[in-house]
Symmetry: C2
DNA sequence: ATGAAAGCGCTAACAG
DNA sequence: CTGTTAGCGCTTTCAT
């Protein structure tokens, strides 16, 4: 079973032909045993082939296979920034979903840069990936690249419908509403907004939701500051919000990362959270669970979204009519909103 | 120049042969213009070809190219967990370095699982990647997989020398020492350790460094707790450390992620940081900058390491004798250690 | 300056 | 159950 793979010194890499010769069979048979089909092979022959494979250290050449089959069994993912916890978690989930179907994942970052995003998509297309998942920098991604690339694609993180394209997202406005309503439930009447900015200037659903919730409750709009969906962006927003003439008693931040940066600014200002300023954020990434205080956040079902995206490309739902899928969010209540905290069940004592 | 790519309705995808026919040249010429060589092409002919390419919407098939050339212009990266900020930053840096050289990056997570790590490496090998970067779960990675895979590899995050392999890492013990010495400089005499655990049970350089610094100063070893290099791991460690009979006044945590989790536990215990418990951590990832309080941390030069790793595989230093490269760390001083904080230059006022 | 053609390693239809 | 073989799209040598 564990016969060491005796590397037979040869010229180049071992090909299927070498294996065939060594095993005394045809190359077709080798193919059959390697792929488990499409023809059956006699057990004895199969054993011989397996042996040859092991002895020679044969590894099938994926490029040749891809050429023949017209599929590289590879998916491409384009995200703005893998250093951002939300996207890195997303990428991880996509990798899992892809791997479960035997697909590898090529990752590329667009770094918030439209030109780079286009370049990455084109590059992936040239590499014959079987599909690309695009979390665009743009509110309205450049569909033309995708079209001319002529590759199945799914648009991620996308609220808007893009006819002819698979689209996966979350109801941003609805999510924002439950967040803001929760804050209102805590009695806040001056609720600010730390709004992330994209390249495109379009109105983000989270801003819409914040406004809707306020209106529905007959409350005025608190201060708003626009800055990046990043730690420094949130930090900046926090500093501004804290210093605003009409300082809010609660803030809705449009990403966890932003919220964490904002938390730091509020702490630095010497204000207590949630006492003097409560905060609720968006994404539900793990960093929200370990900030101080832990963030109440609107959770996006990342794993489910990743699975659906991959499935639309190469899984069960492949080939179906392009769909616009909206996933539900849920509010993850922790302490930054002002909800009471029940200490966890017993801190272990001793070292 | 911007003639729209009129998609000519055809059967399958456009191949080089179609372009040749359309342009009235041979397929060789198409190759020459696409690759800019190895032969020169008359300007007039080149124009015709470019035209044909645009009109037909031709995209070269990377699989065929890879088969012919024996190189996929792809690198593989295997890390334990892309959801962990340190690794996701690393992955981003690797992607940048690879892209700069025209290589794509296939990402895979081993999820702290040895079997999965092996599977991923094998899978990458089968895909004819031109090199793999492996941040192993193991203290001593399974070199045999790499060897039998017969692919240039570099071991990341690796302190130990592995003869015959390119290895890139940081002097963990030295880094830990500067961290602990800094804490000692603040007057602490009871310094605990929140030590991350790997799959292998070997001694980690960070633990060694912590011990060395203590010994050199003639200080006793504070309490130690072992747990994952993760947020929950750090949280658990924090709870234990805080509750230990001999509660430390300072803690060295072996990763930023761990430290962030630990911070939460300390806050929950109602202890002030750095007043009652000071903390210094390791990695220098961006999350350390936005925790509360911001973490003093030992920074690893991630970008430089990523570049060196990629260069060893497919860049300038390719083909050179395998090297064991150790990068320097530096202490990034913030507030969690007890150093005074100077407010940043003026908080912007108004919304 | 251009073209013809071999062949990279693999799959699967077809023939035995 | 096994073998022969065409051909996937591309690069490049060798001829013209």
């Amino acid at each position: 079973m564990t016969t060491p793979a005796v590397q037979v010194a040869r010229g180049g890499p071992v090909t299927r032909k070498d294996v065939a010769r060594y095993a005394g069979v045809s190359t077709a048979v080798v193919s059959y045993v390697v792929n488990g089909g499409p023809k059956k092979v006699a057990p004895a022959t199969e054993a011989k082939v397996q042996d040859a494979i092991r002895v020679l250290g044969y590894r099938p050449n994926a490029a040749a296979r891809a050429l023949k089959l017209g599929s590289s069994e590879t998916l491409g993912l384009v995200i703005p920034d893998n250093s951002n916890p939300f996207f890195s978690q997303f990428a991880h989930a996509v990798e899992d979903a892809a791997a479960a179907l035997g697909y590898a994942l090529v990752l590329s970052n667009s770094d918030g840069n439209v030109a780079k995003e286009r370049r990455n998509v084109r590059n992936l297309a040239a590499r014959q990936v079987d599909g690309v998942l695009l979390a665009s920098v743009l509110f309205e991604p450049d569909l033309e690249v995708l079209e001319t690339a002529d590759i199945p694609a799914v648009l991620l993180n996308q609220e808007r419908d893009a006819p002819g394209f698979n689209t996966i997202g979350v109801d941003l406005a609805a999510g924002a509403r439950i967040a803001v309503e929760h804050l209102i439930g805590h009695g806040h009447t001056n609720i600010g907004l730390a709004m992330g900015t994209n390249v495109s200037g379009s109105l983000d659903g989270r801003e819409v939701g914040w406004r809707q919730a306020l209106q529905a409750a007959g409350l005025p709009e608190g201060p708003v500051v626009y800055s990046g969906f990043t730690w420094p962006g949130g930090y900046l927003a926090g500093q501004r919000l804290v210093a605003s003439v009409n300082r809010p008693t609660a803030i809705f931040a449009t990403s966890d990362t932003q919220a964490v940066g904002l938390l730091r600014a509020v702490h630095e200002a010497g204000l207590s959270i949630p006492g003097e300023i409560a905060v609720v954020s968006f994404d539900g990434s793990i960093e929200a669970e370990y900030s101080w205080p832990p963030l109440t956040t609107v959770e996006q079902p990342v794993a489910a979204m990743a699975e659906a995206a991959v499935a639309a490309l190469v899984g069960a739902t492949r080939g179906e009519k392009p769909q616009h899928r909206i996933f539900p969010t849920k509010l993850n209540i922790r302490q930054s909103c002002g909800c009471p905290w029940t200490p966890s069940t017993g801190v272990p004592h001793g070292t």
